[in-house]
Subunit: 328 residues, 2 copies
């Protein structure tokens, strides 16, 4: 009988078979000891977007990490998120836009040199680009949202040469004017801000300056890609809208830092917001728009793959990460 045969196989002889004949007959597969390459693709109409992870930060939670909230409250929040309470793991996610005729990189990550200095924690863009089949030589345009180091340092390779030698570099006009102005540098409000001025000079080598062009908020940078004024985090900070067909995505830059802290708590004044009051106002305005429009947001500091919808939640906003899809 079929039934008996099955049950006999199952409960009787089978139980003793496998171990002896197969259990140790094959060498163990070696441990990989490394993470998967991290890139994620989706389409906005005809435009193909590839989010390419550059790694994460590991910043200590200092007293001024959020200037208007006690350190203990930040730590408690991290704890509730099952994260390390004394360090902030802020993700870095540059994106590529392939319009079919142009390959555009938005923000450049922490730079190749960081791969060594961070022990592999960040500086991973070029490595992950290679895994994604994207060649630095094919990049036609780099668009910067602002001049913080984690957005501009990737302009240079570890040897100081241009990482994207064939790309023009587009920066918000007001942002570039501010960070490259020596008078502004001399009036820097803190050592941290002064260091950003100095870093801008380090990165904007003569070769980089040759490729620099500026863009204005409210205008189209290239077909389907428009700039939006979102100042506060830095004086000339811009975001982008990417639209094709009836689809669009809001590429926010640093309107918020990591969503799980700063979209959920838009009133928190992050230490890297240069004008925290303006940054908060921008944040609330942008996020109210995202909620009202049910618009997808691409967040440089969102958890990889860094794309989400947003819902109102208490006094803040909660990100609903777009789930992985095996097909575009």
């Amino acid at each position: 009988m079929f039934e008996l045969t099955r049950r006999d196989a199952l409960l009787g002889t089978m139980s003793t078979l496998a171990v002896g004949t197969m259990g140790n007959a094959f060498a163990a597969s070696p441990l990989a000891n490394k993470q998967a390459p991290a890139f994620f693709r989706y389409k906005v109409g005809d435009i193909e977007i590839t989010a390419v992870n550059d790694g994460v930060s590991r910043m200590p939670i200092t007293d001024d990490f959020v200037s208007n909230v006690p350190k203990e409250q930040v730590q408690k929040t991290l704890d509730a998120l099952f994260m390390e309470r004394d360090f902030y793991a802020g993700p870095y996610n540059p994106i590529f836009l392939n319009t079919g005729s142009k390959l555009v990189l938005v923000d450049t990550g922490t730079g190749e040199a960081a791969l060594t200095s961070s022990n592999g924690l960040n500086g991973r863009l070029l490595m992950n680009m290679a895994a994604a089949g994207l060649s630095p030589n094919d990049v036609d345009m780099v668009i910067l949202t602002h001049f913080h180091g984690d957005h501009v340092n990737g302009i240079l390779k570890a040897d100081g040469s241009l990482a994207f030698p064939n790309a023009e570099i587009l920066a918000p006009a007001k942002e570039a004017a501010f960070w490259l102005d020596d008078g502004e540098m001399n009036r820097a409000s803190s050592a941290r801000v002064k260091a950003t001025f100095q870093n801008a000079r380090r990165v904007m080598t003569p070769e980089a300056l040759k490729r620099l062009r500026t863009y204005e908020p409210g205008k189209e940078i290239l077909s389907g890609v428009s700039a939006v004024e979102t100042a506060g985090h830095t004086p000339g900070h811009c975001s982008l809208t990417v639209s094709s067909g009836n689809k669009s995505v809001f590429v926010q830059g640093d309107v918020t830092h990591a969503s799980f802290l700063f979209a959920r708590n838009p009133g928190w004044h992050f230490m890297l917001d240069i004008d925290p009051v303006a940054a908060e106002a921008t944040r609330r305005k942008v996020y109210d728009m995202l909620v009202a429009e049910r618009m997808v947001v691409q967040g440089f500091h969102y958890p990889f793959p860094s794309i989400a919808h947003v819902e109102k939640s208490g006094d803040g906003y909660r990100e609903i990460l777009v789930p992985f899809s095996p097909i575009l």
Copy 2:
């Protein structure tokens, strides 16, 4: 002056330079038109875990999709999640455990044949394994949590041969006894359940049966991997705990289907829960434990990469997905 030079470069001549010399000088990078391979690694003590995505389902939201909740409420919930309201995109995520001496696959996905029948939506395990550097021939052991098709079909390749020819196949004793018993098949409570009996017979070919062994809940299957009784979804459904050093993860199988619907609403009776009342009781018991122990859960139907912590939220539980980490 440095300042003037910078500003001049920025606001003057540079703006006109780049377009002419570089804008169209290089061929466009081709669109990739395909998603990244989907695997994700983490460590539990000395054990390396690789979650390998097998794709997603696309099931219509029928009247009985959740038997004790109106279809409209399910649709409204999906809508609030910014998902298609008429289809359920349920992720499939088998995992590999590499203990250093054994390579173990937990659940096998929808099977290679599904890659064609689903137009690439699922059946992607072997493809993603290859991307992860995992060879089917190196798999020493397949552990099944239960006998639903999306967990067992991957035992076979599209040609009907064994996908993991050197692996023994371990199934919960009660589960195997139930699904391979012809008497039980004849008493099947619905056409859907009957089809699961028939599918079990299709997959458990003579070659597969030769490799079948059973395991008992409450016992260690191999060093660091123990079985936990979690019946309800199916009569002999088991989960696993994987522990090494002071770390552990709960590999839940189908204690919940997709977290965003069924962990958040543990009282929802999913159409694939064979004993929905027992399934709900198991769900609440397991999730109360996960919350109390602050334990990581690996969910076969969680969004890729399918690993999360859990917090209590209203009458249910909310998953807090573990963020991507570039290093293990």
